[in-house]
């Protein structure tokens, strides 16, 4: 059967059907708060908004130890077995 006809009919049928038939919401998905991940967690509701970082001064101008901002010593990928497309 012509695909365009199938599609057009399907849309028309959906439009004509009582909406209750189609109101199947997806299963509840966990919703993650961005404060856990995308910025320094500060008090407030939208910690994700701490991304940005344009400024006209710069602490990065100081000659400070870059290790100061290393916070993850080793990677989890070292604990992953498999995960290679070819043997090492």
């Amino acid at each position: 059967m012509n695909k365009r006809f199938v599609i057009a009919s399907a849309f028309a049928a959906a439009a004509a059907a009582p909406s209750i038939l189609w109101a199947q919401k997806p299963a509840e998905m966990p919703s993650f708060k961005a404060e856990k991940c995308y910025g320094i967690a500060k008090a407030g509701q939208n910690d994700c908004a701490s991304e940005g970082n344009n400024s006209c001064g710069g602490t990065s101008k100081r000659n400070s130890d870059p290790k100061a901002w290393i916070y993850v010593p080793a990677g989890y990928c070292t604990r992953i077995v498999g995960g290679s497309t070819s043997p090492k």
């Binding site: 509701q45 908004a49 344009n54 400024s55 006209c56 001064g57 710069g58 602490t59 100081r62």
Partner: protein
Amino acid sequence: MLSRAGVGLRLPHLSEVVATRPPAGWLEIHPENFLANPHAFELLLQLAGDYPISVHTVGVSIGSASGVDWAHVARIRELIDLVNPVLVSGHLAWSTHRGEYLNDLLPLPYDDETLDLLAMHLHQVQDGLGRPFLVENPSSYFGFGTSTMTEVEFLGELVRRTGCRLLCDVSNVYVSSENLGYDARAYLDGLPAEAIGELHLGGFQSEDDPDAGTRVLVDTHDTAIADEAWRLYTYALRRFGPKPTLIEWDDDLPSFADLLDEATLASVLARQAAQGAPHVAR
């Protein structure tokens, strides 16, 4: 309207300011932080109804020989049209080059070629933004041997040529004068007082260079205003008269209340200066 000192509004404080509406005189933003963050922009628009907002750009590179990023100017124009800021400003510097953004305010040689370029760009930027664009003096770590005039001479020429207004960062005057070996008060004496539209104060740190036996002051914006800067600020107030003053603090942020305390100190000094000897206009 801006008789009380203002504070920089940085993203980590944004939700607190929206929720509690603290008694800040006015707020200054880097538009670049809000253009790429729709949620922050939404919150900013809520604040714009309650606080005078100043827009302080870092990406409008009037000093770039390869040209200003006009797409960026257009984005800022959209923000300005919605926020209706009381002041719009940028820097005597360059931060972009041939389509790259270098995330820094870089120094310019002070000569006729630079003067011609900045005069042209200022005219175009003010057209593009639909507003006057105040030019801020930079914090400098070095200069160029080919410069034919001092920075303060250059700014004076720029004002004479274009009628533009200036944002005098008093901390930057101190930092640059220490780093390059000139007199900070003489610099302030040389600025055209009637062109000053705003003052900035920001924190800096000192770094020793043991090999050279020198130190350099670094404009870090991560600490309280130094005593030397407060003293120079008092001198500036006597020279220029009261001007809208903004406290800048971008990193290692204190509480917003602590920021307001710095602003209060600036406001007190401004009141004292106004009540003291009349300012000397030139």
